[in-house]
């Protein structure tokens, strides 16, 4: 079946009124050089004919699409969806539309999606990197042509551009110190991919807290993974199955913390928090649904999204006072709940 596209254009409207397309175009956006009556006439006719502007044509001519692209690993993570909500709020207020795609933590998909965003000439880009990503050449078209590019949360320092992050080191330090203060002695860590700066920093903060309190970090208490729930379970199985067992764990996210807790739950000799402490990261909704409720780190995802969008929009408008890439660091809160309350 043929798609008979009888899309109404400004030419159709122009013809119907015996004016030029120029006049229609200008009338529709209240250009000063168009008479009041003409504007009214044109708008009325456009509405009547069901005219809808073709953003493609406009974008081509103006080299501006009024869209910003957002690439994240997965949209179904609470942190990410809050981040996106923040981005949307600011973008929509400024008449920008937000298009979202997810890399599913695959480098190839990330490259594909970034290319698609560039080919479709989004006016700006906000990215939270895939776990896998180690090369960054796919961002070159954006950088070369001076398109605003902001990294959020999962950032890289190999590219000089704006970044929105939380103080992961300090957060991990706080979380680990809290466990120590509660009297836990051998604290393990569920760590993420170390090419992601944020996970490295969480590991660093964890290590620093141990050292600060005179505890020798042990590599055998650290489990590296993609931090899925399954991997949290696997991590628990491995760590709690060793001869040198941890009596607490700081997980780099809530998801893996929950997996960890679930494995421990079905072992009769463990009881959280009495002889096993758990702290997560993100303050996902599940963290207050699991029993015992999970102590975790809260970060202002929505605010981070707003700030990211703000940065992009400022750059787009050309009103930015500085062209030097900035890194904006947000603070975090330790939310103490039952899972770490040994005392």
């Amino acid at each position: 079946m043929k798609n008979r596209n009888k899309n109404i254009t400004i030419y159709d409207v122009a013809h119907a009124l015996s004016v030029s397309a120029t006049t229609v175009s200008r009338a529709l956006k209240d250009h000063h050089s168009i008479g009041k009556d003409t504007k009214k006439k044109v708008k009325k006719m456009a509405l009547a004919m069901g005219y809808e502007p073709n953003a493609i044509a406009s974008g081509l001519r103006k080299k501006k699409t009024h869209t910003i692209g957002v690439l994240v690993s997965q949209i179904n993570r609470p942190f990410i969806s809050s981040l996106i909500s923040g981005i949307e709020e600011v973008a929509n207020k400024n008449k920008y539309h937000v298009f979202i795609t997810q890399s599913h933590d695959s480098y190839e998909k990330e490259v594909e999606d970034i290319k698609a965003f560039y080919n479709n000439r989004v006016d700006g880009l906000i990215v939270s990197l895939a776990m896998e990503t180690k090369k960054y050449d796919h961002f070159l078209p954006f950088l070369k042509n001076n398109y605003p590019l902001v990294f959020a949360d999962r950032v890289t320092y190999e590219i000089e551009t704006d970044k929105i992050v939380v103080d992961n080191f300090e957060a991990a330090f706080k979380a680990t110190s809290h466990l120590i203060q509660q009297g836990y002695k051998r604290i393990g860590h569920l760590a993420g991919a170390q090419q992601r700066h944020m996970y490295k920093k969480r590991l660093d903060g964890y290590t620093a807290a141990l050292i600060k309190h005179g505890i020798q970090p042990e590599e055998s208490l650290i489990y590296y993974s993609n931090l899925s729930q399954q991997e949290g379970w696997n991590g628990a199985k491995l760590l709690l199955g060793q001869t040198v067992k941890p009596d607490a764990v700081f997980a780099a996210n809530d998801t893996s913390a929950v997996g960890f807790m679930q494995y421990a739950e079905q072992l009769t000799n463990y009881s959280i928090p009495h002889n096993l402490g758990v702290v997560g990261f993100n303050n996902d909704p599940i963290s207050s649904i699991v029993r015992p409720k999970l102590t975790t780190i809260n970060h202002p995802a929505m605010e981070m999204g707003k700030k990211a969008a703000e940065l992009v929009l400022t750059k787009i408008s050309g009103n930015s006072y500085t062209t030097i890439p900035q890194t904006i660091t947000f603070n975090t809160d330790l939310i103490i709940r039952e899972s770490s309350m040994k005392k």
Copy 2:
């Protein structure tokens, strides 16, 4: 700061090789009328110069953007994100890109987003309606111009177009019957917005199951809301606070079921499932994280997404044998867990 866009076009590549833009365009997509050597030369030069196709220009000319738009209420719901993953899988396999936006269940945002999708001339559209939506005129541009439009999950029967749904009536019937079989006598229902056909069907299935088993439905046991966790809590507070209390509840989603459970948990006179049964809907990850684990309805979100994308793509390609709108109904499974095991 000016955005000096020195984007490379086919003209630049053509000029560098002293051939025509036509040749470059055709060479890049292996048109038969271009010589082997020329193709090689062009591709090499395009790569060297960092040429990237301008999808905007191509889209304008071809009236095809190779993108499909997806509008959902919220991306952070497990069902929705699985649906989207299914859509992406099929779309990407067919070289289509998927742009996602969320209505946040607001009618206004839905209208805005649909307009943006139309203005950007996505080749097809997949929609899960906002809770609020009662008018459907905003889909007219798509319908009039014969753009493929598929509704998924949250559908309306006021528009004649393809729909992907689950058998909500049967699922609710199964869930409610299960509670009855377990020996619960007064079964309540956490219901969603009744303008959404799916929630109406769930209510209907619930009612039918009661009647089938000789139980008189009572309006006082039904709590209508947006099915948020908070509303689940509120529903529990109201229903369990009445003189005629339910001894079980069938919630139209897992989120509200969890809220319901949490309210009941802090009442000393209730113990799930012994004197209070709970069944949810969706099989969200939280349903197996809450304790007791939640009995729920599983539906094939990913498959539904795949099918939706398939329908859209078939329509786009014009290979569809029929133009009659079809409704595809998927079956569901009752997943029995602890929260409803009275026996």
